[in-house]
Subunit: 284 residues, 2 copies
């Protein structure tokens, strides 16, 4: 089924936001994409059991489930346990955690980060029992206040350090990490510590839009030089799926089939060639 | 002349953008502010010699001159030498360097950063001869593409390391640095390495405006907890001026006298109390 040059490509379904789980699965099959990153909300819309059955029938790999975290919200513990259960049911290797920003009206970044570490410690055994890795996602520092107080890969690895690498690891995303002067050293560290749970690619626009959440772009449309980052990820020993996850108003407004066509072409021309050794399907 | 509680406060003139140098000096005198951070463009508008004479007559301390840098632009070497000369004429202890982003159409962040280091090495002896410190300003990573590839305090200290601390140092700005999980350790390092050239305070808005360049706010209007940052700067041995530098459309639209009144009150209530030991004039 897989298409040469894109064997490790995974569609993060947020990139084609207009599609539900069923349409996204059908899109992957139609376009020869072998893997998908799922989001909990559309999975819930279709139903968890139905979604899991469709994925199994389609023989797609699930590269991740987005997302748990948001540890400042009431009910975070139960919600994250539910997310872990859902990821297990969907056959996902990992649950992406967006840890959340400062609580409303709160400026205590140090305490918020301490609570994040405590929350991860509380969840790690539950995730281990479920066979789901928690994938801590360091986010661009422009989201520190409202979305993610986990800002660098080094910080994420420090937070993960007390836990077994099979239960707490990191999600690498070029959009969030490209600016970090220490990023390649920290990717190498993530490899040494066996903490790379997944890899997402997306570009960073030179001119950010009014809503900075949507400042992501298709690979090639922004400022990121993918060679050094992809080379570091491969050198770190990562051979798994490579998700394309893009929040962008223009991409969301476009025909999802057109988006997939462009995504495949950009992946094949800009990402696969710099993922040394040559693009090949994950061994799992 | 100085007003109790704000003896170390310096007005960065960009905060009152509608004022020229003359009006800013008069505003400082009227409001009992003893120090000012100058910008090259308004200084040139009034004339360098006249500006320097007015500053001397007013007996204001000049805390910094903004700005050199932008090393991707043609003519950067001559322009930065001119900026150093201007800072010396104005009696400024340091010239703030905004190093610039990626050149247009260029994605090579590694090469751009290498050029930045080369440019600083080229300027350092000239600055030393002029008696002006180069103050490398690490900027928030959301500006990495278009404004400053120098993104963290640790990176700035690494870039400064080959040079004498009297000629190459760093400008600390809460707006740019607050999110960094390593910031307090790096501020301590900056103190040990005698590299703190200056300190600027400004707040970070939880909801960024459409132009992220203007996402700064008066202290107290954003998410920054100034206590841990100011405490670290004081523990690092810094006893110099504390500039308020805010790029904000609402503040720029307001009456500058009102802005100064609010600035003084916020400085006295939020900054001076956490600058231990107690607020006192710089010894120079």
């Amino acid at each position: 089924m897989s298409t040469p040059g894109i064997t490790r490509l995974s569609l993060n379904q947020r990139t084609v936001r207009r599609w539900g789980v069923r349409e996204a699965i059908e899109g992957c099959l139609r376009h020869g994409i072998d893997a998908i990153g799922l989001w909990r909300e559309p999975v819930a819309d279709l139903g968890l059991t139905v979604s899991a059955a469709l994925i199994k029938d389609a023989a797609l790999r699930v590269s991740s489930v987005c997302r748990g975290g948001f540890f400042a919200q009431p009910g975070w513990l139960d919600d994250n346990r539910a997310a872990i259960d859902e990821a297990a049911t969907l056959g996902a290797p990992c649950l992406v955690l967006v840890v959340g920003g400062l609580p409303d009206g709160d400026r205590d970044l140090i305490a918020t980060r301490a609570h994040m570490s405590d929350a991860i410690a509380a969840l790690a055994p539950y995730a281990a029992d479920a066979g789901v890795r928690l994938a801590l996602e360091p986010m661009h520092p422009m989201y520190c206040a409202d979305r993610g107080v986990l800002c660098t890969l080094g910080q994420a690895l420090d937070v993960a350090a007390p836990h077994p690498p099979d239960s707490v690891a990191v999600m690498l995303d070029t959009f969030h990490l490209w600016w970090d002067p220490d990023v390649r050293a920290q990717i190498a560290r993530a490899g040494r510590e066996r903490r790379v749970a997944g890899f997402q690619v997306g570009d960073f626009l030179r001119e950010l839009p009014a809503d900075v959440l949507l400042g992501r772009a298709m690979m090639g449309d922004g400022v990121i030089d993918f060679g050094p980052l992809c080379g570091a990820v491969t050198a770190a020993g990562y051979t798994g799926d490579v998700e394309v996850e893009i929040f962008n108003a223009d991409i969301w407004a476009a025909d999802p089939n057109d988006v997939l066509a462009v995504m495949k072409e950009r992946y094949a021309s800009l990402i696969a060639p710099v993922l040394h050794p040559a693009d090949r399907p994950p061994a799992r």
